[in-house]
């Protein structure tokens, strides 16, 4: 069993569309959507929900106003500026800013602070025609610490081992922070999706710095190549100098969006050339493994 993450650094380069195509190409796999902040893989994989259960990211502090003597020590010691004096003049923890470090509980002289589990999202398990999908839903405004991503990946790994699946395909999140680190750590290889724009190239370099820190082999897909053919050449030169293989070059094709709106992947357009391109991503990728 091997774990593969599809990543990009910059958002909107086409990660989920590539995963939706690979979901239809790769046999024997479990799907994991690691972009819990904007979970879109469910839109294009026609899932039937099997389980949805609440998920708690961790603890948040709570101040009992009856016990609080307004000594202000907690507010001064909180490094996250999470403790405020509200309109009624009471001390209150702003849920969004609290990191659950417990310092306020430790230093409160009258034991007015307690820490409670706070629900931060949902963990979902669905059946799709292309294999089972583990996906999450982080409630808006909650901290995307990567914990939920790790949890989903663990569930996916358990299922893949149980069913003796060959692959786990992970749809990554944009950025390079905890949620992305959590999607990369421990994978066998990565596919980075980029496009010929200066922004996407800048972001891809940062994500590849991250994957190489983790010694994860990477193949590159250049999407929307018609935007700027000369930048495509630059990406290729750079990839050659970094010894990174280019897996495929995908042109802009308005039918891809049209099919996405009908919740279908580019494979279902039925265009031989396009299907061949997406298949070549996987075939070329198998060679670098």
């Amino acid at each position: 069993m091997k774990q593969i993450v599809i990543t990009s650094g910059k958002g909107g380069t086409g990660k989920t569309t590539v995963v939706s195509a690979l979901a239809r190409i790769v046999k024997s796999k479990v799907l994991v959507d690691a972009d819990v902040d904007a979970a879109n893989l469910e839109i294009v994989t026609n899932p039937k929900l099997l389980i949805s259960e609440p998920y708690s990211e961790g603890l948040k502090a709570f101040i009992d106003t009856d016990k609080c003597i307004k000594c202000d020590i907690c507010r001064q010691k909180c490094r996250f500026s999470a403790i405020i004096i509200n309109a009624q003049g009471n001390y209150e923890v702003t849920d969004y800013s609290c990191e659950g470090c417990k310092v306020c509980e430790l230093i409160c002289p009258v034991e007015a602070v307690s820490l409670n589990e706070v629900s931060s999202g949902l963990i979902k398990h669905s059946h799709t025609p292309f294999g089972n999908l583990w996906h999450g839903e982080l409630f808006a405004g909650r901290d995307n610490s990567g914990k939920m991503v790790m949890h989903l990946r663990q569930k996916g790994k358990d299922e893949a081992l149980d069913k003796k699946a060959d692959w786990i395909l992970i749809d990554g999140a944009p950025g390079i922070g905890c949620q992305v680190i959590a999607s990369i750590t421990g994978v066998d290889a990565a596919i980075a999706i980029t496009e010929p724009t200066l922004s996407a190239i800048h972001d891809m370099r940062r994500i590849i710095e991250l994957t190489s820190n983790f010694k994860v082999p990477v193949g590159i897909v250049i999407n929307k190549v018609d935007i700027n053919p000369s930048l495509v050449l630059e990406i290729k030169d750079w990839a050659r100098s970094m010894k990174l293989p280019i897996l495929a070059e995908i042109p802009i094709d308005r039918r891809i969006v049209k099919f996405m709106i009908q919740r279908m992947s580019p494979i279902e357009i039925g265009d031989e050339f396009l299907t061949g391109l997406y298949e070549s991503i996987w075939n070329n990728f198998l060679e670098i493994l």
Binding site: D37, A38, P174, D203, I261
Partner: protein, 277 residues
């Protein structure tokens, strides 16, 4: 006035809108709060005139005082204190959140703090736009302290435009919290719609006035417009797909710079927002 430009989904055109609006509204301060992947200066193309290190406090253990009692490790909510009994005690750099708890619980006074560099704050200026950009080091996990620091550096009395990180998680809360108005940039696809709904939950909970910009407005369906009518959210602008905009963007040139038409449109947009606020 502070205007934050956000979007649930990545790659919808936040930075294009933020930089174009900044050029149209100049003189103005532009904050790049997408510290994981800061791209505003790719479109502003200004030269850097200053940069400062951004550091967070980081615990250092004095091996002569430490007696390996493990109280710091027991207290640490993030499992960032590593205790190898009799050998070494240290904090794991990217996991520590600098809460200061280990210092408070150490009975031997063995823990102190020193600054640990986790990123940069860069200053750029061009076309009367002052850009303040946060950039975290690759490998750093937690962007929030740097985002907060950017807001502490806002100049008084200046209009400010904020280019937010994508998504609808806490980093977006941090970068829209002080805004007077939030512009949500989306695209007319199921992905765009889904993520717009998530982003609206954040702006609703913060009770911020919002407006929508539909980028590549002619590539998809009309579900965003239906949603905006249902929720009475104004659509401030529609930017149809244009290979010219895409090609110029790819070279780092925003619409407000190469096109008089779009420059006018972004000036109108800015005035429109000022009127709403």
């Amino acid at each position: 006035m502070i205007v934050s430009v956000a979007s649930g989904k990545g790659g919808t055109g936040k930075t294009t809108v933020a930089v174009s609006m900044a050029i149209a509204a100049a003189p103005v301060t532009l904050i790049d709060a997408d510290v994981e992947e800061p791209n505003a200066n790719i479109l502003l193309r200004a030269s850097k005139h200053d940069a400062t290190d951004f550091s967070v406090p980081f615990p250092i253990v004095d091996p002569l005082r430490c007696d390996y009692c493990e109280k710091c490790a027991e207290f640490c909510a993030y499992n960032a204190m590593i205790v190898l009994k009799g050998l070494k005690v240290f904090a794991a750099p990217e996991i520590c959140k600098s809460c200061g708890g280990c210092i408070l619980v150490c009975p031997k006074d063995a823990i102190s703090e020193k600054p640990r560099k986790m990123g940069l704050i860069n200053y750029y200026s061009r076309l009367n736009v002052n850009l303040i950009e946060g950039e975290i080091n690759v490998g750093e996990a937690v962007a929030k302290p740097l985002i907060n620091e950017l807001f502490r550096r806002l100049p008084e009395g200046n209009d400010v435009i904020v280019d937010c990180p994508p998504g609808s998680a806490h980093s977006v809360v941090e970068s829209t919290r002080s805004a007077d108005f939030v512009v949500l940039v989306t695209e007319p696809t199921p992905f765009g719609l889904h993520d717009l709904i998530e982003a609206l939950k954040v702006t609703d909970s913060l009770k911020k006035p919002v407006g929508i910009i539909i980028n590549r407005s002619d590539i998809g369906d009309d579900k965003i417009e239906i949603l905006s009518k249902e929720k009475s959210i104004p659509i401030l602008m529609k930017i149809p797909y244009s290979s010219e905009i895409a090609s110029k963007y790819s070279q780092g040139i925003p619409p407000a710079e190469f096109s008089d038409y779009w420059r006018e449109e972004f000036i109108k947009l800015w005035h429109n927002i000022m009127e709403i606020v």
